[in-house]
Symmetry: C2
Subunit: 534 residues, 2 copies
């Protein structure tokens, strides 16, 4: 049983040439200092992250007066004050833009005529703004932003594009040494390169408090207090369970930020904690002729297993609005199945011989059918595809095994399946130095295949598995390293200048600190105002 995954859109990031300095002896401090001096500088794109698809920043600066500036619905917008999602975003971005500053202490100087930006007008163009929807894989996130005196205009088909545009607008505003808020006249047209830009948070190996999840926009230990099955319990104490209220809170919090929440329930392996709540769910292992007392993967030969799974996925489907559920399917150890005489007998009856992969496929096939009948699509780890399990044509296959992942991308897309790339972005595998450059340098479509195959890659995921991560170190380990993946998945393929990325990411990281996210430093230096953290 594994984490929920979040589809990150708000804080995205960018990728370039890999320095590939992994695992060699770290450079000595004096070298690093030189490196810094080479690197630190101004990007022509300021602090924007991720870089928009098309960007024109003009020299003319406009001022914003915190006491007068407003985020408003523009004329003709199909969303108005009744759109809670945008109202909430207006409030949030007003605070991001002005909130951490000390402007409140300053007198409100009158500004010379023709130099002030008075409003950001947000206009939703489409008849259906999707204000009350949940985001999904086909959500339109495109927007156009035009900053000219006296009002800036943000146009988007749907609210999802407006959210992305608000983030960009907030990143365009800066404060000078005298506390004046400024923005350059600008023209931006933007839309994501990949629709699926995910972060995987693991709440099964360490419980993550709700606060940590929300602070990182999303994530959580996926454990539902199901009445019928007492699913959950498992390896945590009574306190360490997400209640249905917690789950709804996370989903709603994510929705307001245009983020999907996809739960993962990995089976038949990775299920030890399930067994404690559910009699007979796991396979009893044998030591010769006797039960050893320990348990293996889910027991695939009992009808009760499938009854349980049917009820479980019915409940999950009702709790999680997203059209997809991640079903896992990775890393099944056959040792216990092999030891169990009932399983052996079942293998014979089914004509599986001694090929336990066939038994696994049998199990997975049944689970896929159960999920399908609950009207959900599914995402599976690459092993399910590799083992030849029959999966629906609309299944999403997630490629995670680090070695030779480009060949796997070729195979998966060659077979016509949609795919998500995670392999090069396992953020839990830490190493010394600026490993964000490695993540940034990945080009997801750089694998052998035709155009049609490339189109089947719908995005990627930065995975932060939890063996060594909990609330104490989650945030600085995730950020800003995940930001590198974010830009790679949002911005154009040709956005690969690592120097420019460094300059922007340093500022983006400081902005995260100001917004309360304890992102770790990229390298030596400081933010102004300095983060006053713990």
């Amino acid at each position: 049983m594994e984490p929920a995954r979040l589809f990150l859109g708000l804080l995205c990031a960018s990728a370039a040439l890999a320095a590939s300095s992994l695992h060699q002896r770290p450079p000595q401090p004096e070298f690093l200092l030189e490196e810094l001096e080479l690197e630190l500088g101004e990007s022509p794109s300021g602090s924007l992250w991720p870089l928009p698809r098309s960007l024109r920043i003009l020299p003319r600066q406009l001022q914003l007066a915190p006491a007068r500036f407003q985020l408003v619905h523009g004329p003709g917008s199909t969303a108005g004050p009744g759109c809670a999602l945008l109202q909430d975003a207006f409030r949030r971005y007003y605070e991001y833009i002005f909130g951490y500053s000390k402007w409140q202490n300053q007198g409100q100087r009158p500004l010379p005529a023709g130099t002030e930006l008075l409003q950001l007008q947000v206009i939703i163009v489409s008849k259906d703004s999707e204000c009350d929807n949940y985001p999904n894989i086909t959500s339109n996130e495109a927007y156009q932003l035009s900053v000219t005196e006296p009002v800036a205009v943000l146009r988007a088909e749907k609210v999802w594009g407006a959210l992305r545009g608000l983030e960009t607008f907030s990143q365009l505003v800066y404060e000078d040494d005298y506390g004046t808020f400024l923005i350059n006249e600008s023209e931006i047209t933007d839309y994501p390169r990949f629709a699926h830009r995910g972060i995987l948070l693991d709440t099964s190996r360490h419980f993550l408090p709700l606060k940590s999840i929300l602070a990182n926009l999303v994530s959580w230990h996926f454990v539902v207090t199901s009445i019928s099955y007492q699913l959950i319990t498992g390896s945590y104490s009574y306190d360490h369970v997400y209640t249905p209220t917690d789950v709804r809170l996370v989903i709603d919090y994510a929705r307001l930020r245009g983020i999907r929440v996809i739960p993962e329930f990995d089976s038949p392996g990775h299920t030890k904690s399930w067994g404690k709540g559910q009699k007979d769910l796991l396979t009893p292992c044998f030591n010769g002729e006797h039960r050893s007392g320990s348990y293996g993967p889910v027991n695939p030969i009992l009808n009760t297993t499938y009854h349980f799974m049917t009820d479980l996925f019915k409940e999950i489907s009702s709790v999680f609005p997203d059209a997809y559920i991640h079903l896992g399917g990775d890393e099944v150890d056959f040792t216990c199945w092999k030891s169990n005489p009932d399983v052996t007998e079942f293998m014979k009856q089914q004509g599986f011989g001694i090929d336990y992969a066939k038994l696994e496929s049998y199990y997975i096939q049944k689970i896929l059918d159960i999920v399908s009948s609950a009207n959900k699509g599914y995402i599976v780890w690459q092993e399910v595809f590799d083992k030849g399990v029959k999966i629906k044509p609309d299944t999403i296959v997630e490629v995670w095994i680090g070695s030779l992942y480009t060949a796997e991308l070729s195979r998966v897309t060659g077979a016509g399946f949609t795919t998500i790339l995670a392999a090069p972005w396992y953020l839990d595998y830490i190493s010394y130095g600026q490993d964000w450059k490695k993540y940034y340098s990945v080009e997801p479509l750089n694998f052998p295949g035709c155009e049609k195959q490339k189109k089947l890659v719908i995005g990627g995921e930065a995975c932060l598995w939890g063996e060594f991560v909990d609330a104490t170190n989650l945030t600085p380990r995730l950020w800003p390293r995940a930001s590198a993946v974010g830009e790679r998945l949002w911005s154009s393929e040709n956005v690969t200048n690592i120097q420019d990325a460094y300059n922007r990411l340093v500022k983006h990281r400081c902005r995260m600190l100001r917004r309360g996210i304890a992102a770790e430093p990229l390298f030596v230096g400081y933010c102004d105002p300095e983060y006053r953290g713990r």
Copy 2:
């Protein structure tokens, strides 16, 4: 210019066989789960960290009633209520023992006669308790602790031993599922294996707020706002400076915990930030016949340099009570010196030929003399010794270069110098997995040399350089990894059972969380009560 270093005594830690699984592909999750199941268990020593030299825990349990139990000065102690250090420690440890619990909500049940521990009596035996002193390299940290009904007695020559004994006592107390505080009758005799057990915190590459320093017991960016020279300024903004008050606060906070604070001022290299505050201090670099505009190491040919340094170290000596100053001396790049015609001319005059190491030695020799005349001892990085600079016989040489450090230990001690080992404990060099085992497995005296040479190793340091560390990730990166070094330096040489260490360290880490230190997890699992995150 580099960090202050703290000599850690309070939260110490232990070392065993290195798994040496560094930089190989991380094990897969299912394996890790098995590993956990093998590893988790009870140590016969409970949660003690570091393990005392001699320990007898008896089966008989005594209860502690929070409303009645007291930490008091015992009969005949040379320290009494006038000893602020112990009074502060009594208050602190009472809170550590009972504070985080919910006992306040429980009725105070009367306890059966003969089962209650009523007091811990602390008895300082020596005529001079050293209550008002600063700790130093020769401070006596030994103690004896006897827990029997109805009172426990903690005996120590000096307050330093009492501090260590209070920590051990607090670790012996545990809470059962019903909220009852229990302690087993025990007999402990304890003293450290090495006198120097240090943590190096780097405040030069990232400013660390005072709060972060204190939260980790000590550390800081070492920058003194000196009136005569405006030392400091440097790479930080105006806000990022420690005031003299900050410095005194840190020193006093550390003293109350038996921790020394040793400042490091690394020169002639690592000094770029100094130059900005001090004209002519750094060597101007040349590009052919003209100044390039950049600056190199400290300029060793000017009298003004040594006047500045004399004033600087006079001030430092008055601010820092410790008998030692760390002078650095590592990693000098000669390129700039070589480019400068005045330096070349000076080399000729001095008969140095083209051997710039001689010029460096000339500089260091002068600095050492300046520090000596300020009545301070000095610690230097190994290069100063390696380059044959003439150093006083009581100089402490710190061995930091990772490769072949055992040979270096042989050479340094063979030449009769006292030494500190840092090389295997560079905590900033992170890697995937349980790298604490690697730190724990180091045996500092495992190098070729006679008994007399081994005696010259006075301890070691866990170094957390700051290229990639600031307030956002300092604490979880330092703890519990530094604890492994702590036990190695405190406990007996034969305390090397990694399984036992794991079991104790898991609990010690949970205790750190309860005490407000956001130590990262060793591996999967949870603390009870769970840490509720930032």
